[in-house]
Amino acid sequence: MRFSVRHLWVLGVLLTGTASNTAFSEDALVIYSGRSDKFVKPVLAAFTAETGIPVKIHAGKSTALLTKLKLEGNRTTADLFISNDAGNLYKGSEFGLFQAIPDDILGVIPAGSRAKNKQWVGLSARARVLVVNTGDTTVEFVKSVFDLADPRLQGKLAITHSSNESYIAGVTVYMLEVGKEKTAAWLTGMKGNVRRSVYNKHSKIVADVAAGKKAIGLVNHYYIYRHLAKHPDAPISIRLPDQGKDGMGVAWNVAGIAISRYSKKAEQAQALVKFLVGEKGQAQFAKVNREYPVRPGIAAAKEVPAAGSFKVADVPMEELGRQRTATLDLLESVGMP
């Protein structure tokens, strides 16, 4: 036999054996993280440097990780769960997957940005805003997100597809502010304007608006500054919708953290949450992604509009989870691409 299947088989068994022994260091805090590695790693490294507690990241999509957490139940290895969407955090607490965080840790964060039942806390916030091409004067009339349904924007509007978390959260806010009927009409109008061509990524929306292929787009604020950091001369600017006396304000969403109900290291996990809501942790966690720190008094990155200088829709973050299924049903009934 020139080549033996048996050799491979033996090799396979050996490799499997060694692999199950590659120790999963027992003392590290395990975090299921739905937030990009590069935005989580630096601040966690700072935590480890300060406290000596090692941390291990298990990255994935928030919703998938939540599903995993739910199915694992008390067998889970996760000590903490980080999500970029308050809706997922709400769902997790609804499933009973988290444990309460002590008041002395939570207290520094405003009530609207954390769970009433203390099961999760927001860490950084993002605003749902418009990106416009500064050379295009035809979109000057757009002052509200609801103007995006105007037929004058045929072929000029860029939005993401309707399974994007940030998009869903935004629609939830509008639905709570103006009701289902008006929101459905708005979605129908936008559907006509985009002619079934929607985007996978917010960053591509910003790039296409910068290139003049689209005139206006609906995005999270930091994507604009991420693009400007790479291309300082790009002809784009931010427009904060629904301001003014009668405006509902921009839609707001938080990324946040929760402690797993079955964590065997609740004390260290609490130490991490305490670090992240602390002044240093807050500044670092938000700034790497140019988001707004949730804790009052901590400045955001200097290029973004200062917090407090604009109006934010008054919707408690918990509603983003409570209403998510209703929003999905609405999106589906309109047939949003």
Partner: protein
């Protein structure tokens, strides 16, 4: 035939394997049973018609595309001797190493206005026209055909170069024209191979998650995933999975029906067909066609990976963590392939010799892993393991188990094809010379079907190496493989980080593919 006792031992082993493979199905059936009649009705009327149409349309289009590319290239390579023929075999097989989500991702960025193809398009047709969109059924077909046609190529090329001269010569001697020989002898002879290849392709299409989710084409798999992860609605997801399983199984039965109507045993002495030397004109035609296929299926994606990997290299982004991902990937793929090959053996041996409701049942059960979407398999195994063997959970074994369940049908298919080539008389001869069952297996059966076992190993290895959705869910904490990294980096648009991982997948598979092309060369000797 062989003694009944020996067959029944195979039968028992085969049954055990089949039942193990069907574990995720239990989970699906269990969850689907919790759906009320009302929910079924709304599922049936609201979602199913569109999903059914989308999925079937895609499967048919990709099947046609793969036959067109796979059979044409296989015929040229098997029947003509030309410069670079061995290289051509390699080039046709190599696209198998590129996962569908990488294909999709690369072609999305290539056809953007500032991508290579986008710019070429603007150059050719003016700046005002925009390059074709990939976010539709044709785009998905394009991507999945490129990613899958190699299966048809492999099996058809193998069948063509193994077909024996005697049959075609006999036909020629009876006065048949070359076209008649082609139509009445050659094509029917390769039909089982085409059917098997198309089956592989269609099953990949039905269970594909990566490309359809990148291109947002609503098939069963994507819809099931969205039900689970967006709405946490496991029951509806299970209901949809069950329909998908029904669809795939009926397709498999159809395919087996086509394949089993005929069986050929060639005499041991007859000569294999020698490929004819190609003329200059034929050289031109052959390489124009092969070159076009290779350009889209391999060269463009590879060039993209190289360019971005070079960027990563220059920016010092390839660190020790990256090599850890490589090691993890190889580890899982090696383990899964080895286990799958061994487990598939009793199934394929038994089914190749015994045709009964039991053996058919076993084969269908063992196929379940392949027709269920990856996320569903992962959740099924996760639930069952947690309920029965919780101490296993969190380790690598569970992940390997999921990979084996998922890709066992690949191993069964290719081993079974090899076993069918094994004339029953050889086995009987071994037994009549006094070899015990194990000795007979070791000294007679295994050496003969070695080729089939190697291709089984390679197919499972390659698919495990590329597997994404189940790995995402079941990997041990912090255990990242190359596909997991590609997926994470690509969803963050860190192309320069996704590209080296994709490139490593291709490079890592090369030595393995070498084994795969070996039997083909042996056959020519």
């Amino acid at each position: 035939m062989l003694p009944a006792r020996w067959l029944s031992l195979r039968g028992v082993l085969a049954t055990i394997v089949a039942v193990l493979a069907a574990v995720p199905l239990l989970f699906v059936v269990g969850s689907a049973l919790q759906l009320g009649a009302e929910e079924w009705r709304s599922l049936w009327s609201v979602r199913l018609p569109e999903l059914m149409w989308n999925t079937l349309l895609l499967a048919v289009l990709v099947a046609f595309g793969s036959i067109l590319l796979g059979v044409s290239t296989a015929w040229l390579i098997a029947r003509r001797e030309f410069v670079g023929r061995r290289l051509a075999i390699w080039l046709m097989v190599m696209p198998l190493t590129i996962p569908t989500y990488v294909f999709a991702h690369i072609y999305i960025s290539l056809t953007e206005s500032d991508g290579w193809l986008g710019r070429l398009w603007h150059f050719l047709f003016g700046a005002s026209s925009s390059p074709p969109e990939l976010y539709n059924v044709l785009g998905v077909t394009f991507v999945l055909t490129l990613a899958g046609f190699s299966y048809v190529f492999l099996l058809v090329q193998d069948a063509l170069s193994r077909s024996h001269r005697s049959i075609e010569e006999a036909a020629r001697m009876q006065g048949a024209t070359p076209t008649e020989v082609m139509r009445r002898i050659t094509l029917p002879l390769v039909r089982p191979a085409v059917a098997a290849g198309v089956a592989l392709v269609v099953l990949h299409v039905l269970s594909d998650f990566g490309a359809v989710s990148m291109l947002r084409y609503q098939t069963f798999t994507l819809s099931i995933y969205l039900q689970m992860s967006g709405r946490f609605d496991y029951q509806s997801a299970a209901g949809l999975s069950l329909v998908l399983v029904g669809l795939s199984l009926s397709f498999l039965i159809l395919e087996r029906f086509f394949r089993n109507r005929q069986r050929f045993y060639a005499g041991a002495q007859s000569q294999r067909i020698q490929p004819r030397r190609a003329s200059r004109f034929e050289h031109f035609v052959i390489w124009s066609w092969l070159g076009t296929v290779v350009l889209f299926a391999l060269i463009l994606p590879l060039a993209w990976m190289l360019v971005w990997s070079w960027q990563a290299w220059q920016n010092d982004l390839i660190d020790h963590e990256f090599w850890g991902y490589v090691r993890n990937s190889l580890l899982v793929a090696t383990a899964a392939a080895s286990v799958a090959v061994v487990l598939a053996l009793p199934l394929s041996l038994y089914h190749a010799r015994v045709r009964s409701w039991l053996s058919h049942m076993q084969i269908q059960l063992a196929s379940v892993g392949f027709v269920l979407p990856g996320p569903v398999i992962a959740l099924g195994i996760l639930s069952v393991v947690l309920a029965t063997l919780p101490w296993l959970y969190g380790g690598l074994i569970v992940l390997v188990m999921a990979m084996v369940v998922r890709f066992l049908p690949l191993a069964v298919q290719s081993q079974e094809a090899a076993v069918q080539q094994l004339t029953p008389s050889i086995e009987q001869a071994g037994r009549s010379l006094g070899a015990g069952p194990l000795e007979n297996l070791w000294r007679v059966v295994l050496p003969v079907i070695r080729g089939g076992m190697v291709s089984a190993w390679v197919l499972v290895f390659i698919d495990t190496l590329k597997e994404l959705p189940a790995t995402l869910i079941l990997r041990p904490t912090g255990f990242d493989t190359l596909p997991v990294r590609i997926w994470i980096e690509a969803s963050e648009e860190m192309l320069e980080l996704a590209a080296p991982a994709a490139l490593m997948l291709v490079i890592g598979t090369l030595p393995i593919l070498w084994f795969l092309t070996r039997p083909i060369r042996e056959n020519r000797a």
